[in-house]
């Protein structure tokens, strides 16, 4: 059982990083707030609790890998990586600016980045390749990947899901950030992805279904997934809300890829600061 204090610490970290995500996108006046806010609790669970990593040695061969397939949610990843010390926090202000390190979508040249995203669906096939290499080299590390629910409309996701099962990759753990909304509307209206739980079960995966904003459930799911080792890949269906934590961004597709203006930014920060982390989920 994970200690309550630890979970509370993680929740506080997530609140702090929600603030940074919004500030980063506001300063750049460009970026994707909705999916970054839905993903951040899981990223905190991964980077501050689960992943076996060393920020001083980003390319440590035995590290756990994290592939952010939904690369537009780079603000969530960058705030975490900066906070973990992969690079200086001063880089954050250069996000999406010419001549600076932090590109709109992650690049492998940024320390701590294990996948250069931006084209949806590709991350899962890349994670599959890493997982195959790790098995070949008899490494004990795990390969984590995060996809969005709009993203799984891409056929590649199902090609890779079939292959991960075929190659019995129990070192591969995929998280579906099921935030229900994509660029032009609700996922169920743009192209309904149906019962994803049944779909991945039918593809031969272990499936864990959780509330992806409930830190207690996140750490429990990550523990369970990383210990599964039953010759099957694992899917964590992380039920989330796009824009979580900022009421006017929640489930609002307009904030998929739009930066808040000054008024919106101030009001968003106010809301974040008022979050009661004990009750947040």
């Amino acid at each position: 059982m994970v200690k309550k204090e630890l979970v509370l610490d993680l929740k506080q970290k997530a609140r702090e990083l929600r603030r940074e995500i919004l500030t980063m996108i506001y300063n750049a006046q460009s970026g994707h707030p909705g999916g970054s806010l839905s993903a951040i609790d899981m990223l905190v669970g991964l980077y501050y609790y689960k992943l076996k990593i060393d920020p001083k040695n980003p390319m440590w061969p035995d590290r756990d890998r994290f592939v952010l397939s939904k690369g537009h949610c780079s603000p969530a990843l960058y705030t975490v990586l900066a906070d973990k010390g992969y690079f200086s926090k001063s880089e954050i202000e250069g996000y999406r600016k010419i001549g600076r390190m932090l590109q709109g979508h992650p690049e492998l040249s940024t320390p701590g980045v294990d996948f250069a995203g931006g084209s949806l669906g590709q991350g899962i096939s890349f994670a599959l390749g890493i997982a195959l290499a790790c098995k070949l080299d008899k490494k004990t590390c795990n390969v984590y990947a995060m996809l969005g629910d709009g993203e799984i409309q891409e056929g590649i996701v199902w090609e890779s899901s079939m292959a991960a099962s075929f190659y019995k990759l129990d070192n591969m753990i995929v998280i579906l950030d099921k935030n229900q909304v994509q660029q032009t509307g609700k996922v169920k209206d743009v192209m309904d992805v149906g019962n994803v739980n049944l779909k991945w079960k039918a593809f031969g995966w272990n499936v864990i279904d959780i509330n992806g904003h409930d830190m207690q459930q996140i750490v429990k799911a990550l523990d369970k997934a990383s210990k599964m080792k039953n010759k099957r890949p694992t899917m964590i269906i992380s039920n989330t809300i796009k824009g979580k934590g900022v009421s006017f961004m929640e489930l609002n597709h307009k904030f998929h890829g739009k930066a808040p203006n000054e008024e919106e930014y101030k009001s968003a920060i106010e809301e974040i600061d008022k979050i009661d982390v004990k009750k947040f989920k």
Partner: protein, 313 residues
């Protein structure tokens, strides 16, 4: 002594197998065409290092990239045409990240024959050439294909190697030394320069023999690295002849013809003729019938060269 023949894909399979024996870091993937691409030679010998990806080229390219990111030397093969299905994966994961993946596309060109339009890739050089960081190669015979596979193992970066279905004459001996970026003069002359690549190297050599009977002596060069192209060789000989012809089983747009036109128009403008597929799709048929009909056989090349050079002045 009868002419020895082999397909470039045979050279690929043979060299990949040899490479597998000496380098344990080499892995290979295929998308249900390993018998045709010959990657099965490697697959049968090293099943642990061979990944059958099913009929899923995008997944093959994505997984190849992940393996390369993990330090493997990766060879991924399928038909040239189907590699194009994963083009945006090649662009966004492999070339963008300079990952060490060697893509091998077999059954390229209209010489693929009877399967018809759907199987005849005649734009692959053009698209891969437009990607930064990519090396683009096309062997002229099985020996050169073998040497390329070995040279690529020592080259760290993305590449596309274009291969062919049908046996062609062996024009290199076992001591041939292939170097990425170097062209090869196969025949010297003074009246014109034929720059050829892949299967058209053989047609160009035969065309040179026909031209000799017409009292024309032409250079024939094998441009087996299309990117980075051998600027020095091409400009040097262009200066000697002032008539440059390119010959390839590929669209004249963006292939060897495109690459040479780009180079010469900037560095040494001179008369140029591009022989290849004239921006259209071909059809089913026997490879030699198709080459004749679409103007890629030795007789058609010779005829074009005569017409081109006689317009002189």
């Amino acid at each position: 002594m009868p002419e020895q023949k082999a397909a470039t894909r045979d050279g690929y399979g043979k060299a990949l197998l040899e490479l597998g024996k000496i380098n344990l870091n080499v892995v290979a993937l295929d998308a249900d065409l390993s018998d045709s691409t010959r990657s099965e030679y490697f697959g049968k010998q090293f099943p642990d290092r061979f990944f059958s990806m099913g009929i899923a080229e995008q997944d093959m390219i994505g997984a190849a990239a992940g393996l390369a990111f993990s330090g493997k030397i990766v060879y991924a093969s399928t038909f040239a045409i189907f590699s194009e299905r994963a083009f945006e994966f090649v662009r966004n994961i492999i070339s963008r990240n300079k990952l060490n993946v060697k893509i091998a596309g077999s059954h390229s060109g209209i010489a693929t024959g009877e399967d018809g339009k759907s199987a005849q890739a005649t734009e692959d050089i053009a698209i891969y050439r437009a990607l930064p960081n990519m090396v683009v190669l096309q062997p002229s015979d099985a020996i050169e294909a073998e040497k390329m596979v070995l040279a690529l193992a020592d080259y760290k970066g993305p590449s596309y190697m274009r291969m062919h279905r049908n046996p062609v004459p062996i024009i290199h001996d076992a001591n041939y030394s292939f170097e990425i970026g170097k062209g090869e003069i196969l025949r010297e002359g003074e009246d014109a320069l034929i720059l050829s690549t892949g299967t058209l190297v053989h047609e160009s050599l035969k065309a040179a023999e026909i031209l000799e009977k017409e009292n024309m002596n032409v250079y024939v060069a094998n441009i087996s690295t299309i990117k980075p192209i051998d600027k020095g060789l091409i400009i040097d000989i262009a200066k000697k002849t002032n008539f440059v012809i390119t010959a390839e089983d590929h669209n004249v747009i963006g292939g060897l013809g495109g690459a040479v036109a780009e180079l010469l128009s900037e560095e040494y403008p001179c008369r140029m003729k591009r022989i290849g597929i004239q921006d259209r799709y071909a059809e089913s048929g026997k490879p030699d019938e198709l080459y004749k009909k679409y103007g890629l056989d030795a007789a058609s090349i010779a005829e074009e060269v005569i017409k081109f050079v006689s317009k002189k002045g």
